[in-house]
Amino acid sequence: MTSELEFFIDPSRCIGCQACVQACAECGTHRGVPMIHLDYVHRPTGVQTAPVVCMHCEDPTCARVCPADAIKQDDEGIVHSAAKPRCVACSNCVLACPFGVPKMKVDFDLMMKCDMCYDRTSVGKKPMCATVCPSGALYYGTREYVAEFRRETPVNEFRFGRETVRTKVNMMTAPQMKALPFDVADFLPWEGQDFDPLSLARAGAPDAASSSVWDEESLPGTCGSGNCACKQQPEAAAIAN
């Protein structure tokens, strides 16, 4: 029955906590070495992180380019780490994988990668990362559950140039109806503005900035004056969508 359970990655849920990385290292066969990748997309501009497990391609590029025939796909469609007696540590697979999954572990002269916790899934357990993930960014379960309960939609066909790659693992994408209509940066009053970060830093007592707040002359129109914004509908409030 385990074949009905599938793996779903949803980067929109990821909080970058690394529970998956820490748990992957704990998996019985990994012995302290995590196989999952979790990186910030671009930390200077935001906190978006992206977890990457092996996508377990139907026709795995890594195995096709391996000159030593060291990478095997089993009957369940799981693509395994390179077999130690065969792997020649050439890194062809590392360069060829469209998802950047295999890594050359130079300490062992061996390519190692996510095997979807074969030791766990083969005995009916969930992969370690998808069991612990506190945000549901990594989910192991049925397609029916995802269709019924998730906002995003699964995709398992990817186009790289003229090549189409079909994978066992699903990537969740934005709801079909539309892309998300806004960005959290839209709510930042300093974005695209001439903003002085030290504008409150007036000379005087430490509370100079605050005491000026109730300085009546500087206040805009108040309630009852007819100018108060509280009577107006929020301007194209994204929240109402």
Partner: protein
């Protein structure tokens, strides 16, 4: 004098923190003898987890998917929490301070020495000159025992706990508004809410498991509103983000309520039938127009309108907050102004409708219920109420006048030590040198103690100052109960016995009590007997556990209080039918005008300073700075600042900067990111010594809760040096 006898580096060499990377017995440690179903030792979610035990050592973990709250989910701390019991730094015997740090000592000698010091200090300076500091990472049983020990064995008024740095603003506000101090709803109500306000809670990093509850609500169509000076991971995809200026929370809540009232988005019927004092609030918030509120808070008026519309018109809703609004000199006021939003909406006490506060510590809820606070007796009773005092005095079979009166709170105890009024201290599970603001003063205070004893499994930076260190127990080495952030009392199972010559904490407390001549009050055979006594002591009190037993808790995967009878099912959701816990059954609005923080920015210190946590560390780091893979995840503090601010001072990412406040300075790498307000810098607080953010923070206290103002003070920032790897990275 509790001064250090060797260098800090030497203490670290001898007692850690040493980052441990390997489980007991190595990675090939084989099959466990047993799997123990218990809970994580860290935050207030108290995730269910199974610990693998072999040869009386914890060797690993397995997810526990049947436990309903987390269903096997864990954060990185939970995954690695098992790495402490066989740790090279684990204290295995009592220690007594010597010229070379500490000497190994017998239990007999260390207990005798401690009891002699307690008696001599109290004989000379009075009972209250010896203080007790407890913690909220300990079980309910120990929280109860600590309070009883202080009142009966030490006979001191001065007992308090580290929840004073954590939950007390929320607790006080909850009692003032609702008449009871507990999250109003089980977390299972979160996915049913159509609008969720998260204010001052870095939920994804400090309470990661609730993330899935929030996302499930979003899957159901909920809108998420996040209020924070930083774009934390939970804020990244928020439907509305209000980047509030530090220290302005009450103004923002008043501003949102202003719009709700003006637009008629309030439940007049609920307000009339179930609450008091709304008129005072209605009058107060008249002046908090969106424009005025924008001016105070830095949040755009149109976002205030949007928040009011979303919250005001919601079908169902939950409001959750944490230390971000509570760690202020107006922490209680901030919480109360947000509770006003909940009460005005009328959406509380129903499925998908309510309110909760996120508890930072493992037993942040239970640790504040059973009498280890200076103003509290078991069952959440008030030490200042004559009938409550009489009940507990009778229960303990002591004359009521012998029961000490209200004592000092945690920070006030440190202040009193500094002033020379408190001469001796016994501390358990508390690391004030890292966790209390203005750490230079905390250090000076510790050095003035005539006698200082600690009970801890690891030698914390504070414990380095101790005369006697008792090797206590880790959570997995004892048993008992904790009460989670949703008010669910869960059962901790004993996985292993303490290693070496270490002892279970409650036995150490009982040993001390016996030697202080109070054996008849402290002769427990096991933790279960303490629990039975605790539940009996709570009977009829505001926090009633009297219907709970270990068996019932296990059978039900936890029981929610109040649970006042053996057949009572517990109370997952409070305030159903609009019934609150004040004597007249009504809730109270509170009208609090905005007032500035104790220290605001000025020309000399022009930048807001705020502090908080990272996901891979827990509190003062006594446990998590000892787990290698957690250390590697975020090895040392970074000063987060916005590129607009960094540009003012010529600072680039990873440049070394000096951050100075009126209390101290700190040199550390900058992290230049757009995920923070441009007028604010942030430093996480988990580290000690020169890496302690609390060198900078302000020990100004909330007048009601006595919580310090961790979340806002004024600082200046300057560049000290280029990033160490700058040449490398620019190539």
């Amino acid at each position: 004098m509790a001064t250090l006898t060797i260098t800090d580096d030497r203490y670290t060499e001898l007692y850690g923190p040493t980052p441990n990377y390997t489980p007991a017995g190595g990675w090939n440690n084989g099959e466990p003898d047993k799997l123990v179903k218990t809970h994580c030792c860290f935050c207030g979610v108290q995730c269910g987890i199974q610990l693998k035990v072999k040869d009386n050592k914890v060797i690993g973990f397995e997810p526990w998917e049947e436990f309903p709250v987390n269903q096997g989910k864990l954060c990185p701390k939970g995954v690695k929490r098992y790495m402490q019991n066989d740790h090279p730094d684990r204290l295995l015997t009592p220690l007594i301070r010597s010229a070379t740090g500490f000497d190994v000592a017998s239990w007999e000698k260390s207990l005798t020495k401690t009891v002699a010091a307690i008696q001599s200090i109290q004989a000379k300076h009075g009972k209250d000159s010896f203080a007790f500091l407890g913690g909220a990472s300990m079980t309910n049983e120990k929280a109860y025992l600590n309070g009883k020990f202080a009142r009966i064995a030490l006979q001191t008024a001065n007992i308090d706990y580290n929840g004073r740095l954590c939950m007390v603003s929320a607790g006080a506000a909850n009692r003032m508004a609702f008449g009871v101090d507990r999250a109003a709803n089980p977390w299972s109500d979160i996915p049913l809410a159509k609008v969720i306000i998260l204010t001052g809670t870095n939920l994804a990093e400090c309470f990661p498991i609730l993330t899935d509850y929030i996302w499930r609500a979003r899957d159901n169509g909920a809108k998420i509103i996040v209020i924070d000076p930083r774009i934390t991971p939970i804020a990244r995809t928020a439907d509305l983000f209000l980047p509030v200026r530090p220290g302005r929370d009450s103004a923002l809540a008043n501003g949102i309520l202003h719009v709700m009232i003006e637009r008629g988005w309030i439940d007049e019927k609920f307000i009339a039938e179930h609450t008091h004092d709304f008129d005072k609030v209605r009058e107060l918030v008249k002046k908090y127009t969106p424009e005025v509120t924008e001016k105070i808070t830095g949040v755009p008026a149109k976002s205030i309108l949007a928040a009011a519309e979303a919250w005001g018109t919601a079908e169902t809703s939950m409001l959750l907050h944490a230390r971000g609004i509570e760690h202020h000199t107006k922490g209680v006021e901030n919480v109360l102004t947000y509770i006003n939003l909940v009460l005005a909406s009328g959406r509380i006490g129903k499925p998908g409708c309510g309110y909760g506060t996120i508890t930072g510590q493992g037993n942040g809820q239970g640790g504040r219920e059973h009498g280890q606070r200076c103003n509290q007796l078991p069952g959440g009773r008030d030490i200042n109420k004559p009938e409550h005092r009489q009940f507990i005095a009778d229960f303990w079979k002591i004359p009521e006048p012998e029961l000490p009166k209200q004592g000092l709170t945690a920070c006030e105890i440190i202040d009193a030590i500094e002033r020379g009024e408190i001469k001796g201290l016994l501390s358990i599970s508390f690391n004030p040198l890292v966790s209390i603001p203005d750490s230079n003063r905390t250090r000076a205070a510790l050095e003035k103690l005539e006698f200082f004893a600690c009970i801890d499994p690891f030698l914390s930076e504070t414990a380095r100052h101790a005369d006697v260190v008792f090797a206590g127990s880790l959570q997995e080495e004892d048993e008992g109960t904790v009460t989670t952030g949703e008010g669910r009392c869960v059962r901790l199972r004993n996985s292993v016995s303490p290693p070496g010559n270490a002892r279970v904490d409650w036995q150490i407390i009982c040993d001390l009590a016996r030697r202080l001549g109070k054996e008849q009050w402290f002769s427990y055979g096991n933790a279960g007997e303490i629990f039975t006594e605790l539940t009996a002591a709570s009977k009829g009190g505001p926090i009633d556990y009297s219907g709970m037993t270990y068996e019932r808790i296990e059978q039900n995967m936890g029981l929610f209080w109040p649970c006042p009878a053996p057949e009572h099912p517990g109370t997952p959701r409070l305030f159903e039918g609009g019934k609150f816990h004040h004597p007249d059954g009504k809730a109270k609005f509170h009208a609090y005008d905005y007032r500035p923080p104790a220290e605001d920015v000025d020309a000399e210190f022009p930048i807001f300073f705020t502090s908080g946590r990272v996901v891979s560390q827990y509190l003062s780091g006594t446990q998590t700075r000892r787990i290698g893979s957690l250390v590697d995840q975020y090895p040392e503090p970074l000063c987060e600042m916005h590129p607009l601010l960094a540009a003012k001072f010529g600072i680039n990412d990873r440049d070394i900067v000096k951050v100075t406040t009126r209390r101290g300075e700190m040199t550390l790498p900058a992290q230049v990111v757009k995920s923070i307000r441009p007028d604010t810098v942030f430093i996480p607080y988990h580290w000690a010594g020169k890496k302690a953010a609390n060198q900078l923070t302000n020990r100004a206290l909330d007048p009601i809760s006595k919580i310090p103002e961790f979340k806002v003070c004024a600082c200046k920032v300057e560049k000290v040096a280029d990033a160490p790897l700058k040449n490398l990275t620019t190539q």
